[in-house]
């Protein structure tokens, strides 16, 4: 179903949007310099929330969720709830405490809390792998949308998309444009919801709140189809649903780039209230996303189009754009969806790659390989690492192993199986020590990758530990491992435990 026509409108508009975001970035940078001290106090909680949401929204949210709903109906709610409920866990269990601890990255926290260079490097490697897996999913989104835009093959489009990302990254770096998260969020949500409203209108459903009217669209489908999508267990067992939802929740709470949002805000209280707004802003997207999947089926039914499973699978990750195209939406609105997907992917990729490269140069190269390196040297290593990591992701993304949302979920499983327990016990149990942390991270990594590497050998393993959902069993096992190993080895220093009591757990 790949048409071979080049679509100029979305490409032209994409250029405009990227240019505008650079210019705005440039202007906000100048503005910031003026009154940094003053501005900090006047930042509203909603503004912080928008920054949290824009940091969060990746191709998995923008393109992936609708695709999963299109294929699996109710099962997609496991993704939606996992990716929102995780913020409750993060806020309630760790947000304030990690902030009071005062370490800004996952490896820094692990190094300080567990007082071990080995644990630091281990957690750094894990953080980099999480970013890489996350990026593979973003690359897939980028490749698919560009392939749609130019009517070219996926691999070519992927390479083109990565080039666009890099040019954007370099230009933004060269002119030192800062990213304006509030504008980014506003663009994404408008580019998502306005086309959705118009799709609902075209299909004759209530267009003011498509978030509600997609229910009627589902019920209007032929009975068999309607039942399949409304019944919870058509596309997955209760165990699969719960395991996936739990995995995404603990993964969210353990994801390094989500956690770091707690520090970019002046004080603890503002950070906490920012989460409430952030969750609302993320909710706006997640309330709407399933509607695309439902309206897609609605159009397929009325137009009498039948997709075979392979076609449906191939289209799922761009179903957002396809639905708009199918119902005959204005070209500009269809472009808006494509641009939104690309923006979400590009911003996530650049954010993650730059952070991962920083981790490679500072936590791995400087700490492990060359402790005498100076700032300049480290910067060169970081730039080189960005390139190497980007190419590494490209190699994997040429043959994406699953849907965008599924690939992303694996990154969450790794975070939930390793960093989450290490953070959780690091904060809530003074007795946990470096041996426990290292053993825990080892077990967690093994649990995450066992079903991916050996799943084809044993269907039982795959059923018990699905690659996307391994943390329901993994996280408790890792926590138990950490407790047992920590109990058998000497406790951490008194100084550290005093710090936990007096600093981390005091108002």
């Amino acid at each position: 179903m790949i048409e071979s026509t080049v679509k100029y409108t979305p490409f032209f508009l994409l250029g405009c949007v990227l240019l505008v975001s650079l210019v705005v970035g440039l202007l906000t940078r100048r503005h910031d310099k003026g009154g940094y001290g003053l501005q900090v106090h006047s930042i509203g909680h909603a503004k912080i929330g928008a920054a949290i949401a824009s940091n969060w929204m990746s191709a998995a949210s923008f393109l992936g969720i609708a695709g999963v709903f299109f294929l699996n109906g109710y099962f997609a709610f496991a993704y939606i709830l996992g990716w929102t409920g995780g913020y409750v866990l993060l806020l309630v269990l760790m947000g304030s405490q990690i902030r009071r601890f005062g370490k800004y990255t996952a490896p820094d926290f692990v190094a300080a809390r567990y007082d071990s260079p080995v644990a630091r490097v281990f957690s750094a490697v894990i953080a980099v792998i999480i970013s890489l897996i996350y990026c593979v999913a973003q690359y897939k989104g980028l490749g698919l949308v560009f392939a749609w835009m130019f009517g070219i093959e996926y691999t070519q489009a992927l390479v083109f998309g990565v080039l666009v990302t890099f040019v954007f990254l370099m230009v933004a770096g060269a002119i030192k444009a800062s990213r304006n998260p509030q504008m980014h969020y506003l663009l994404l949500i408008l580019f998502f919801i306005i086309p959705l409203m118009m799709i609902a209108k075209k299909l004759g459903y209530n267009w003011l709140v498509p978030q509600f009217s997609y229910g009627s669209a589902l019920r209007d489908l032929p009975e068999q189809l309607s039942t399949a999508y409304l019944f919870p267990w058509t596309f997955g067992t209760p165990y699969e649903w719960i395991a996936l939802c739990f995995t995404l929740m603990v993964g969210t709470a353990g994801l390094p780039h989500v956690l770091s949002r707690f520090y970019t805000v002046p004080n603890n209280r503002d950070a906490r209230w920012g989460v409430v707004w952030g969750l609302f802003f993320i909710g706006l997207l997640y309330w709407s996303a399933p509607a695309f999947g439902a309206f897609a089926h609605s159009w397929l039914t009325t137009s009498g189009t039948v997709l075979d499973p392979a076609e449906a699978q191939a289209l799922a990750d761009i179903i957002v754009i396809k639905t708009a195209e199918w119902v005959g939406l204005n070209e500009i609105l269809v472009s808006a969806l494509a641009i939104g997907g690309i923006l979400a992917a590009i911003s996530t990729i650049t954010g993650l790659l730059v952070t991962a490269a920083g981790t490679v140069s500072y936590d791995i190269y400087y700490r492990l390989i060359n402790p005498n390196a100076n700032e300049k040297h480290l910067l060169i290593v970081a730039k080189g690492a960005t390139l190497v990591l980007a190419l590494l992701v490209l190699v994997v993304a040429v043959n994406p192993p699953g849907l965008i949302a599924q690939i992303t979920a694996v990154a969450f499983a790794l975070a939930g199986n390793t960093l989450f327990p290490v953070f959780l016990l690091g904060i809530w149990w003074d007795r946990s020590n470096k041996y426990g942390a290292i053993a825990g991270m080892t077990v967690g990594t093994m649990i995450t990758f066992a079903p991916i590497l050996f799943g084809h050998l044993s269907p039982t393993l795959l059923a018990v530990l699905p690659p996307t959902s391994s943390a329901l069993i993994g996280a408790p096992v890792v926590i138990l491992t950490m407790i047992i190993v920590s109990r058998l080895t000497p406790p951490p220093s008194e100084e550290l435990r005093r710090f936990l009591v007096e600093k981390v757990h005091s108002p």
Partner: protein
């Protein structure tokens, strides 16, 4: 004997941090709030699918029997829309309680 005790006392100082046995005072109250929020989070998120799994296994009879809300089965609306609101509400309440707790302890200090 009493001298040894005095010498030991600084190192015997209570530096315990344990989620299941929180220190009296601020931490105990904080942990209580956390437990309440976590319970409300877990029951709503996982209670519904567990309930559905136990009660309903047949698609046709399920959709005929369950109550409907906004044109979809109630559980569908609950998972797809209500729970996100519920999470926002939980975070809101948690923040109110923690704000109250930390301001009362700061005043005391």
């Amino acid at each position: 004997m009493s001298q040894t005790n005095e010498q030991n006392s600084p190192s015997r100082e209570d530096l315990r941090v344990n989620f299941f046995r929180p220190r009296p005072g601020f931490m105990r109250k904080e942990v209580t709030i956390i437990w309440i929020t976590l319970a409300a989070w877990a029951i709503a998120t996982f209670g519904m699918p567990i309930h559905l799994a136990i009660i309903h296994s047949d698609p046709a009879s399920t959709l005929a029997e369950v109550p409907y809300i906004f044109g979809v089965p109630a559980y569908f609306w609950f998972s797809g829309q209500f729970l996100i609101l519920w999470f926002i509400f939980l975070c809101f309440c948690f923040n109110i309680l923690i704000d109250w707790l930390s301001s009362s302890y700061r005043r005391r200090r």
